[in-house]
Amino acid sequence: MSLQLDFPAVLERWPSFLAGAVLTLELAFFATVLGALLGTLAAVGRGTHNSLIAGACKVYVETIRNTPLLVQIFLVYFGLASLGLKYSAFTVAVAALTINVGAYTAEIMRAGFEAIPRGQIEAAEGLALSRFQIYWHIILLPAVEKVYPALTSQFVLLMLASSVCSQISAEELTAVANYIQSDTYRAFETYIIVAVLYVILSLVMRAGFWGLGLLLFPRRRRLGTPL
Protein backbone atom coordinates (compact mmCIF):
# COMPACT_ATOMS: atom_id res chain seq x y z
CA MET A 1 0.00 0.00 0.00
CA SER A 2 2.00 2.90 -1.29
CA LEU A 3 -0.77 5.43 -1.40
CA GLN A 4 -1.11 8.12 1.23
CA LEU A 5 -4.67 9.43 1.39
CA ASP A 6 -5.09 12.94 2.70
CA PHE A 7 -8.80 13.73 2.85
CA PRO A 8 -8.59 16.98 4.82
CA ALA A 9 -6.55 18.57 2.02
CA VAL A 10 -9.48 18.00 -0.32
CA LEU A 11 -12.32 18.32 2.14
CA GLU A 12 -11.29 21.87 3.00
CA ARG A 13 -12.77 22.78 -0.36
CA TRP A 14 -16.21 21.68 0.80
CA PRO A 15 -17.94 24.91 -0.33
CA SER A 16 -17.00 24.06 -3.93
CA PHE A 17 -18.28 20.49 -3.56
CA LEU A 18 -21.50 21.77 -2.05
CA ALA A 19 -22.02 24.29 -4.84
CA GLY A 20 -21.41 21.55 -7.41
CA ALA A 21 -23.83 19.18 -5.72
CA VAL A 22 -26.51 21.87 -5.58
CA LEU A 23 -26.07 22.65 -9.26
CA THR A 24 -26.26 18.94 -10.12
CA LEU A 25 -29.49 18.67 -8.18
CA GLU A 26 -30.90 21.75 -9.92
CA LEU A 27 -30.02 20.36 -13.35
CA ALA A 28 -31.63 17.05 -12.44
CA PHE A 29 -34.76 18.69 -11.07
CA PHE A 30 -35.53 20.85 -14.09
CA ALA A 31 -34.63 18.15 -16.58
CA THR A 32 -36.78 15.62 -14.71
CA VAL A 33 -39.86 17.81 -14.64
CA LEU A 34 -39.54 18.97 -18.24
CA GLY A 35 -38.36 15.58 -19.49
CA ALA A 36 -41.30 13.77 -17.88
CA LEU A 37 -43.66 16.17 -19.63
CA LEU A 38 -41.92 15.92 -22.97
CA GLY A 39 -41.60 12.14 -22.73
CA THR A 40 -45.24 11.62 -21.85
CA LEU A 41 -46.32 13.82 -24.75
CA ALA A 42 -44.05 11.89 -27.09
CA ALA A 43 -45.43 8.58 -25.82
CA VAL A 44 -48.99 9.79 -26.41
CA GLY A 45 -47.89 11.14 -29.79
CA ARG A 46 -46.53 7.77 -30.81
CA GLY A 47 -49.89 6.21 -30.05
CA THR A 48 -52.01 8.61 -32.08
CA HIS A 49 -53.60 7.71 -35.38
CA ASN A 50 -52.04 10.75 -37.06
CA SER A 51 -49.11 9.11 -38.81
CA LEU A 52 -47.24 12.42 -39.15
CA ILE A 53 -47.21 13.04 -35.41
CA ALA A 54 -46.54 9.39 -34.63
CA GLY A 55 -43.67 9.34 -37.14
CA ALA A 56 -42.13 12.54 -35.81
CA CYS A 57 -42.25 11.19 -32.26
CA LYS A 58 -40.64 7.95 -33.41
CA VAL A 59 -37.80 9.75 -35.18
CA TYR A 60 -37.22 11.88 -32.09
CA VAL A 61 -37.15 8.91 -29.73
CA GLU A 62 -34.95 6.75 -31.93
CA THR A 63 -32.44 9.47 -32.78
CA ILE A 64 -31.94 10.49 -29.19
CA ARG A 65 -31.88 7.01 -27.71
CA ASN A 66 -29.28 5.82 -30.16
CA THR A 67 -26.74 8.63 -29.94
CA PRO A 68 -24.57 9.73 -27.00
CA LEU A 69 -25.71 12.46 -24.68
CA LEU A 70 -22.35 14.20 -24.97
CA VAL A 71 -22.77 14.64 -28.70
CA GLN A 72 -26.30 15.96 -28.18
CA ILE A 73 -25.04 18.45 -25.65
CA PHE A 74 -22.28 19.64 -27.97
CA LEU A 75 -24.63 20.01 -30.87
CA VAL A 76 -27.12 22.03 -28.84
CA TYR A 77 -24.44 24.18 -27.22
CA PHE A 78 -22.28 24.95 -30.24
CA GLY A 79 -25.12 24.70 -32.71
CA LEU A 80 -27.08 27.42 -30.95
CA ALA A 81 -23.97 29.60 -30.68
CA SER A 82 -23.26 29.20 -34.39
CA LEU A 83 -26.77 30.45 -35.04
CA GLY A 84 -25.93 33.49 -32.97
CA LEU A 85 -28.05 32.35 -30.01
CA LYS A 86 -26.23 32.56 -26.71
CA TYR A 87 -27.79 31.00 -23.66
CA SER A 88 -26.16 30.27 -20.35
CA ALA A 89 -24.50 26.90 -19.93
CA PHE A 90 -27.21 26.03 -17.38
CA THR A 91 -30.05 26.70 -19.80
CA VAL A 92 -28.38 24.71 -22.54
CA ALA A 93 -27.61 21.86 -20.16
CA VAL A 94 -31.22 21.68 -18.97
CA ALA A 95 -32.48 21.77 -22.55
CA ALA A 96 -30.14 19.03 -23.72
CA LEU A 97 -30.85 16.82 -20.69
CA THR A 98 -34.58 17.33 -21.16
CA ILE A 99 -34.44 16.33 -24.79
CA ASN A 100 -32.37 13.33 -23.85
CA VAL A 101 -34.37 11.99 -20.92
CA GLY A 102 -37.63 12.77 -22.72
CA ALA A 103 -36.85 10.11 -25.30
CA TYR A 104 -36.21 7.47 -22.65
CA THR A 105 -39.28 8.47 -20.70
CA ALA A 106 -41.36 8.16 -23.87
CA GLU A 107 -40.31 4.54 -24.31
CA ILE A 108 -40.97 3.66 -20.69
CA MET A 109 -44.34 5.39 -20.68
CA ARG A 110 -45.32 3.61 -23.86
CA ALA A 111 -44.65 0.26 -22.19
CA GLY A 112 -46.80 1.44 -19.30
CA PHE A 113 -49.62 2.50 -21.61
CA GLU A 114 -49.58 -0.88 -23.29
CA ALA A 115 -49.80 -2.66 -19.97
CA ILE A 116 -53.21 -1.13 -19.25
CA PRO A 117 -55.83 -3.84 -19.89
CA ARG A 118 -58.02 -3.14 -22.92
CA GLY A 119 -61.12 -3.64 -20.81
CA GLN A 120 -60.22 -0.56 -18.80
CA ILE A 121 -60.07 1.57 -21.90
CA GLU A 122 -63.29 0.10 -23.27
CA ALA A 123 -65.08 0.79 -20.02
CA ALA A 124 -63.92 4.39 -20.23
CA GLU A 125 -64.95 4.65 -23.87
CA GLY A 126 -68.34 3.28 -22.92
CA LEU A 127 -68.67 6.15 -20.44
CA ALA A 128 -68.20 8.61 -23.34
CA LEU A 129 -64.88 9.91 -22.06
CA SER A 130 -62.81 11.60 -24.78
CA ARG A 131 -59.39 10.25 -25.79
CA PHE A 132 -57.71 12.95 -23.77
CA GLN A 133 -59.88 12.24 -20.74
CA ILE A 134 -59.14 8.52 -21.01
CA TYR A 135 -55.41 9.22 -21.04
CA TRP A 136 -55.70 11.67 -18.22
CA HIS A 137 -58.04 9.81 -15.86
CA ILE A 138 -57.72 6.14 -16.75
CA ILE A 139 -54.37 5.42 -18.37
CA LEU A 140 -51.83 7.89 -17.09
CA LEU A 141 -51.72 7.20 -13.39
CA PRO A 142 -51.93 3.38 -13.51
CA ALA A 143 -49.36 3.41 -16.32
CA VAL A 144 -47.00 5.58 -14.32
CA GLU A 145 -47.56 3.35 -11.31
CA LYS A 146 -46.71 0.27 -13.34
CA VAL A 147 -43.42 1.68 -14.61
CA TYR A 148 -42.60 3.82 -11.58
CA PRO A 149 -39.46 1.87 -10.63
CA ALA A 150 -38.14 2.11 -14.19
CA LEU A 151 -38.93 5.82 -14.31
CA THR A 152 -37.24 6.44 -10.98
CA SER A 153 -34.12 4.64 -12.15
CA GLN A 154 -34.16 6.56 -15.40
CA PHE A 155 -34.28 9.92 -13.69
CA VAL A 156 -31.59 9.03 -11.17
CA LEU A 157 -29.55 7.91 -14.15
CA LEU A 158 -30.19 11.30 -15.68
CA MET A 159 -28.85 12.97 -12.55
CA LEU A 160 -25.67 10.89 -12.78
CA ALA A 161 -25.41 11.50 -16.53
CA SER A 162 -25.65 15.23 -15.98
CA SER A 163 -21.95 15.00 -15.16
CA VAL A 164 -21.16 15.41 -18.85
CA CYS A 165 -22.50 18.95 -18.61
CA SER A 166 -19.07 19.78 -17.21
CA GLN A 167 -17.99 19.67 -20.86
CA ILE A 168 -19.93 22.81 -21.67
CA SER A 169 -18.76 24.74 -18.62
CA ALA A 170 -21.65 23.96 -16.27
CA GLU A 171 -20.02 23.84 -12.84
CA GLU A 172 -21.80 20.74 -11.51
CA LEU A 173 -20.34 18.14 -9.19
CA THR A 174 -18.09 16.35 -11.68
CA ALA A 175 -16.76 19.66 -12.99
CA VAL A 176 -15.90 20.69 -9.46
CA ALA A 177 -14.24 17.33 -8.89
CA ASN A 178 -12.17 17.64 -12.04
CA TYR A 179 -11.10 21.10 -11.08
CA ILE A 180 -10.11 20.14 -7.58
CA GLN A 181 -8.32 16.98 -8.58
CA SER A 182 -6.23 18.69 -11.24
CA ASP A 183 -5.48 21.54 -8.91
CA THR A 184 -4.39 19.28 -6.06
CA TYR A 185 -3.52 16.06 -7.88
CA ARG A 186 -5.43 14.21 -5.18
CA ALA A 187 -7.59 12.18 -7.49
CA PHE A 188 -8.43 9.31 -5.12
CA GLU A 189 -9.61 11.50 -2.32
CA THR A 190 -11.61 13.63 -4.73
CA TYR A 191 -13.32 10.71 -6.45
CA ILE A 192 -14.17 8.95 -3.22
CA ILE A 193 -15.75 12.12 -1.86
CA VAL A 194 -17.60 12.62 -5.11
CA ALA A 195 -18.83 9.01 -5.09
CA VAL A 196 -20.23 9.52 -1.59
CA LEU A 197 -21.87 12.79 -2.66
CA TYR A 198 -23.47 11.15 -5.68
CA VAL A 199 -24.80 8.30 -3.54
CA ILE A 200 -26.29 10.90 -1.21
CA LEU A 201 -27.78 12.84 -4.12
CA SER A 202 -29.29 9.69 -5.58
CA LEU A 203 -30.78 8.78 -2.20
CA VAL A 204 -32.22 12.29 -2.00
CA MET A 205 -33.77 11.82 -5.44
CA ARG A 206 -35.14 8.39 -4.62
CA ALA A 207 -36.62 9.71 -1.41
CA GLY A 208 -38.20 12.48 -3.46
CA PHE A 209 -39.69 10.00 -5.89
CA TRP A 210 -40.88 7.80 -3.05
CA GLY A 211 -42.65 10.76 -1.49
CA LEU A 212 -44.10 11.76 -4.82
CA GLY A 213 -45.34 8.18 -5.23
CA LEU A 214 -47.24 8.46 -1.95
CA LEU A 215 -48.97 11.56 -3.26
CA LEU A 216 -49.64 10.13 -6.70
CA PHE A 217 -50.83 6.68 -5.73
CA PRO A 218 -53.18 6.98 -2.77
CA ARG A 219 -54.54 3.50 -3.47
CA ARG A 220 -51.11 1.99 -2.98
CA ARG A 221 -50.68 3.96 0.20
CA ARG A 222 -53.85 2.41 1.57
CA LEU A 223 -53.54 -1.12 0.25
CA GLY A 224 -49.85 -1.57 -0.47
CA THR A 225 -50.43 -3.64 -3.60
CA PRO A 226 -49.16 -2.72 -7.05
CA LEU A 227 -51.73 -2.48 -9.81
Binding site: A123, E125, F217, R219, L223
Partner: protein, 252 residues
Protein backbone atom coordinates in the same frame (compact mmCIF):
# COMPACT_ATOMS: atom_id res chain seq x y z
CA UNK B 1 -77.69 15.00 -33.85
CA UNK B 2 -80.43 12.82 -32.55
CA UNK B 3 -83.47 12.25 -34.65
CA UNK B 4 -86.91 12.50 -33.21
CA UNK B 5 -87.98 9.04 -32.22
CA UNK B 6 -91.63 8.38 -31.62
CA UNK B 7 -92.35 5.65 -29.12
CA UNK B 8 -93.09 3.14 -31.84
CA UNK B 9 -89.85 3.83 -33.70
CA UNK B 10 -86.98 1.60 -32.52
CA UNK B 11 -84.24 3.17 -30.43
CA UNK B 12 -81.83 0.40 -31.34
CA UNK B 13 -82.06 -1.41 -34.63
CA UNK B 14 -79.73 -3.92 -36.25
CA UNK B 15 -80.23 -4.90 -39.85
CA UNK B 16 -78.36 -7.81 -41.42
CA UNK B 17 -75.22 -7.21 -39.33
CA UNK B 18 -72.11 -9.16 -40.33
CA UNK B 19 -68.95 -9.57 -38.27
CA UNK B 20 -66.01 -11.93 -38.60
CA UNK B 21 -62.86 -12.41 -36.57
CA UNK B 22 -60.39 -13.59 -39.17
CA UNK B 23 -61.98 -16.66 -40.73
CA UNK B 24 -64.50 -17.07 -37.92
CA UNK B 25 -67.90 -15.62 -38.80
CA UNK B 26 -69.30 -14.56 -35.44
CA UNK B 27 -72.33 -12.50 -36.57
CA UNK B 28 -73.95 -13.77 -39.74
CA UNK B 29 -76.75 -11.43 -40.67
CA UNK B 30 -78.19 -10.42 -37.33
CA UNK B 31 -81.33 -8.25 -37.33
CA UNK B 32 -83.46 -7.10 -34.44
CA UNK B 33 -84.88 -3.88 -33.08
CA UNK B 34 -85.59 -2.51 -29.64
CA UNK B 35 -88.40 -0.04 -29.10
CA UNK B 36 -88.28 2.77 -26.58
CA UNK B 37 -88.85 1.42 -23.08
CA UNK B 38 -88.47 -2.14 -24.20
CA UNK B 39 -86.33 -4.70 -22.36
CA UNK B 40 -84.74 -7.18 -24.70
CA UNK B 41 -82.95 -10.32 -23.52
CA UNK B 42 -80.29 -11.79 -25.74
CA UNK B 43 -79.82 -15.48 -25.02
CA UNK B 44 -77.90 -18.31 -26.62
CA UNK B 45 -75.13 -20.72 -25.82
CA UNK B 46 -71.57 -19.70 -25.19
CA UNK B 47 -69.80 -18.50 -28.32
CA UNK B 48 -73.04 -17.83 -30.20
CA UNK B 49 -72.08 -14.15 -30.60
CA UNK B 50 -74.15 -12.45 -27.88
CA UNK B 51 -71.36 -10.37 -26.47
CA UNK B 52 -70.14 -9.48 -29.92
CA UNK B 53 -73.62 -8.29 -30.97
CA UNK B 54 -73.82 -6.13 -27.85
CA UNK B 55 -70.35 -4.70 -28.46
CA UNK B 56 -71.30 -3.82 -32.02
CA UNK B 57 -74.24 -1.74 -30.77
CA UNK B 58 -71.90 0.50 -28.77
CA UNK B 59 -69.29 0.30 -31.55
CA UNK B 60 -66.62 -1.51 -29.64
CA UNK B 61 -66.43 -3.63 -32.75
CA UNK B 62 -66.73 -2.27 -36.26
CA UNK B 63 -69.20 -4.31 -38.26
CA UNK B 64 -68.22 -5.79 -41.62
CA UNK B 65 -71.64 -5.20 -43.12
CA UNK B 66 -75.25 -4.32 -42.36
CA UNK B 67 -76.79 -1.36 -40.60
CA UNK B 68 -76.99 -0.38 -36.95
CA UNK B 69 -78.95 2.66 -35.75
CA UNK B 70 -78.91 3.63 -32.07
CA UNK B 71 -80.83 6.71 -30.87
CA UNK B 72 -80.48 8.11 -34.36
CA UNK B 73 -76.73 7.48 -34.61
CA UNK B 74 -75.68 5.48 -37.65
CA UNK B 75 -73.29 3.24 -35.75
CA UNK B 76 -72.17 1.30 -38.83
CA UNK B 77 -70.92 4.47 -40.54
CA UNK B 78 -67.26 5.44 -40.08
CA UNK B 79 -68.19 9.05 -39.27
CA UNK B 80 -70.46 8.26 -36.33
CA UNK B 81 -69.96 10.64 -33.40
CA UNK B 82 -68.68 8.14 -30.85
CA UNK B 83 -68.85 10.36 -27.80
CA UNK B 84 -72.40 11.42 -28.55
CA UNK B 85 -73.35 7.79 -29.10
CA UNK B 86 -71.85 6.72 -25.82
CA UNK B 87 -73.56 9.44 -23.86
CA UNK B 88 -76.80 7.89 -25.05
CA UNK B 89 -75.70 4.32 -24.41
CA UNK B 90 -74.52 2.83 -21.13
CA UNK B 91 -72.72 -0.49 -21.16
CA UNK B 92 -71.81 -2.88 -18.36
CA UNK B 93 -69.38 -5.63 -19.20
CA UNK B 94 -69.11 -9.26 -18.30
CA UNK B 95 -65.83 -8.41 -16.58
CA UNK B 96 -66.50 -5.40 -14.44
CA UNK B 97 -63.58 -3.20 -15.46
CA UNK B 98 -63.72 -0.82 -12.57
CA UNK B 99 -60.76 1.55 -12.58
CA UNK B 100 -58.42 0.06 -9.99
CA UNK B 101 -56.70 3.31 -9.04
CA UNK B 102 -59.90 5.14 -8.18
CA UNK B 103 -62.26 4.67 -5.26
CA UNK B 104 -65.79 3.55 -6.01
CA UNK B 105 -67.01 7.12 -5.61
CA UNK B 106 -64.36 8.40 -8.01
CA UNK B 107 -65.20 5.61 -10.45
CA UNK B 108 -68.77 6.82 -10.49
CA UNK B 109 -68.28 10.58 -10.50
CA UNK B 110 -65.56 10.55 -13.16
CA UNK B 111 -67.74 10.46 -16.25
CA UNK B 112 -70.53 12.79 -15.06
CA UNK B 113 -67.94 15.42 -14.11
CA UNK B 114 -65.63 14.97 -17.09
CA UNK B 115 -68.21 14.41 -19.82
CA UNK B 116 -71.26 16.27 -18.63
CA UNK B 117 -69.44 18.94 -16.67
CA UNK B 118 -71.38 18.17 -13.53
CA UNK B 119 -70.29 19.92 -10.32
CA UNK B 120 -68.31 17.68 -7.96
CA UNK B 121 -70.74 17.99 -5.09
CA UNK B 122 -73.68 17.18 -7.31
CA UNK B 123 -71.80 14.19 -8.77
CA UNK B 124 -71.09 12.93 -5.28
CA UNK B 125 -74.74 13.08 -4.38
CA UNK B 126 -75.48 11.19 -7.56
CA UNK B 127 -72.83 8.58 -6.70
CA UNK B 128 -74.43 8.01 -3.32
CA UNK B 129 -77.84 7.69 -4.95
CA UNK B 130 -76.84 5.08 -7.51
CA UNK B 131 -74.85 3.16 -4.90
CA UNK B 132 -77.96 3.01 -2.74
CA UNK B 133 -79.81 1.66 -5.77
CA UNK B 134 -77.40 -1.26 -5.98
CA UNK B 135 -77.06 -1.65 -2.21
CA UNK B 136 -73.43 -0.61 -1.90
CA UNK B 137 -73.60 2.76 -0.16
CA UNK B 138 -71.14 1.71 2.55
CA UNK B 139 -68.36 1.05 -0.03
CA UNK B 140 -68.22 4.65 -1.27
CA UNK B 141 -64.59 5.13 -0.35
CA UNK B 142 -63.30 1.61 -0.93
CA UNK B 143 -61.04 0.67 -3.84
CA UNK B 144 -62.32 -1.96 -6.29
CA UNK B 145 -59.87 -4.62 -5.16
CA UNK B 146 -61.28 -4.36 -1.64
CA UNK B 147 -64.63 -5.55 -2.92
CA UNK B 148 -65.77 -9.08 -3.61
CA UNK B 149 -66.70 -9.98 -7.16
CA UNK B 150 -70.38 -9.35 -6.64
CA UNK B 151 -69.76 -6.01 -5.07
CA UNK B 152 -67.54 -5.02 -7.94
CA UNK B 153 -70.18 -5.86 -10.50
CA UNK B 154 -72.79 -3.83 -8.64
CA UNK B 155 -70.40 -0.89 -8.51
CA UNK B 156 -69.89 -1.18 -12.26
CA UNK B 157 -73.64 -1.07 -12.81
CA UNK B 158 -73.90 1.97 -10.56
CA UNK B 159 -71.17 3.68 -12.54
CA UNK B 160 -73.11 3.16 -15.74
CA UNK B 161 -76.39 4.29 -14.19
CA UNK B 162 -74.79 7.53 -13.11
CA UNK B 163 -74.50 8.60 -16.74
CA UNK B 164 -78.30 8.37 -17.08
CA UNK B 165 -78.13 6.94 -20.60
CA UNK B 166 -81.07 6.41 -22.96
CA UNK B 167 -80.24 2.77 -23.59
CA UNK B 168 -78.46 0.39 -21.28
CA UNK B 169 -76.55 -2.67 -22.45
CA UNK B 170 -75.78 -5.42 -19.95
CA UNK B 171 -73.49 -8.35 -20.65
CA UNK B 172 -74.18 -11.07 -18.08
CA UNK B 173 -74.17 -8.52 -15.31
CA UNK B 174 -75.74 -10.86 -12.78
CA UNK B 175 -73.25 -13.66 -13.34
CA UNK B 176 -71.41 -12.95 -10.16
CA UNK B 177 -74.39 -12.01 -8.00
CA UNK B 178 -76.10 -14.21 -5.46
CA UNK B 179 -79.89 -14.64 -5.62
CA UNK B 180 -80.58 -11.99 -3.01
CA UNK B 181 -78.56 -9.34 -4.84
CA UNK B 182 -79.81 -10.45 -8.22
CA UNK B 183 -83.25 -9.67 -6.84
CA UNK B 184 -82.15 -6.22 -5.78
CA UNK B 185 -80.58 -5.47 -9.13
CA UNK B 186 -83.67 -6.82 -10.81
CA UNK B 187 -85.75 -4.29 -8.91
CA UNK B 188 -83.41 -1.52 -10.00
CA UNK B 189 -83.75 -2.62 -13.58
CA UNK B 190 -87.54 -2.90 -13.30
CA UNK B 191 -87.62 0.62 -11.96
CA UNK B 192 -85.48 1.75 -14.85
CA UNK B 193 -87.83 0.07 -17.29
CA UNK B 194 -90.80 1.81 -15.65
CA UNK B 195 -88.99 5.13 -16.12
CA UNK B 196 -88.82 4.38 -19.82
CA UNK B 197 -85.29 3.04 -20.04
CA UNK B 198 -84.55 0.90 -23.02
CA UNK B 199 -82.38 -2.10 -22.26
CA UNK B 200 -80.58 -4.91 -24.03
CA UNK B 201 -79.25 -7.63 -21.80
CA UNK B 202 -77.20 -10.66 -22.54
CA UNK B 203 -78.08 -13.28 -19.99
CA UNK B 204 -78.03 -17.02 -19.52
CA UNK B 205 -80.38 -16.97 -16.59
CA UNK B 206 -83.67 -18.04 -18.00
CA UNK B 207 -85.66 -17.10 -14.91
CA UNK B 208 -84.23 -13.63 -15.06
CA UNK B 209 -84.97 -13.34 -18.78
CA UNK B 210 -88.51 -14.53 -18.26
CA UNK B 211 -89.14 -12.18 -15.35
CA UNK B 212 -87.86 -8.98 -16.85
CA UNK B 213 -87.70 -9.16 -20.63
CA UNK B 214 -90.43 -7.86 -22.92
CA UNK B 215 -88.88 -9.77 -25.75
CA UNK B 216 -86.34 -12.56 -26.18
CA UNK B 217 -83.81 -12.90 -28.98
CA UNK B 218 -82.28 -16.37 -29.15
CA UNK B 219 -78.95 -16.43 -30.98
CA UNK B 220 -77.43 -19.53 -32.45
CA UNK B 221 -74.19 -19.70 -34.42
CA UNK B 222 -74.14 -16.00 -35.20
CA UNK B 223 -77.76 -15.82 -36.34
CA UNK B 224 -81.03 -14.79 -34.69
CA UNK B 225 -82.63 -18.16 -34.51
CA UNK B 226 -85.87 -17.42 -32.77
CA UNK B 227 -87.41 -14.27 -31.38
CA UNK B 228 -90.61 -13.42 -29.56
CA UNK B 229 -92.13 -12.59 -26.17
CA UNK B 230 -90.86 -14.18 -22.96
CA UNK B 231 -93.38 -16.95 -23.46
CA UNK B 232 -91.21 -18.56 -26.15
CA UNK B 233 -88.99 -19.79 -23.36
CA UNK B 234 -91.77 -22.00 -22.08
CA UNK B 235 -93.02 -23.00 -25.54
CA UNK B 236 -90.06 -22.87 -27.93
CA UNK B 237 -90.68 -23.65 -31.61
CA UNK B 238 -87.20 -24.55 -32.85
CA UNK B 239 -85.36 -27.68 -31.70
CA UNK B 240 -82.26 -25.62 -30.79
CA UNK B 241 -84.14 -23.38 -28.38
CA UNK B 242 -85.97 -26.39 -27.01
CA UNK B 243 -82.64 -28.04 -26.25
CA UNK B 244 -81.25 -24.81 -24.86
CA UNK B 245 -84.02 -24.12 -22.39
CA UNK B 246 -84.41 -27.87 -21.78
CA UNK B 247 -80.94 -28.27 -20.33
CA UNK B 248 -81.38 -24.99 -18.61
CA UNK B 249 -84.11 -26.52 -16.47
CA UNK B 250 -81.42 -28.31 -14.54
CA UNK B 251 -80.76 -24.98 -12.94
CA UNK B 252 -84.11 -24.12 -11.50
Amino acid sequence: MQQNSSSSEPIVSLHNVQKSFGALRVLDGVSFAVARGEVLALIGRSGSGKSTALRCIDRFEKVDGGEIVVCGHRVDRPDVNLRALRQDVGIVFQSYNLFPHLTIEQNITLAPCAVKGMATSQAKDLARKVLVQVGLEEKLHAYPEQLSGGQQQRAAIARSLAMQPKVMLFDEVTSALDPELTGEVLKVIEQLAADGMTMVMVTHEMGFAKGIADRIVFMHRGKVHETGPASILTSPTTPELTQFVGTGNLKS
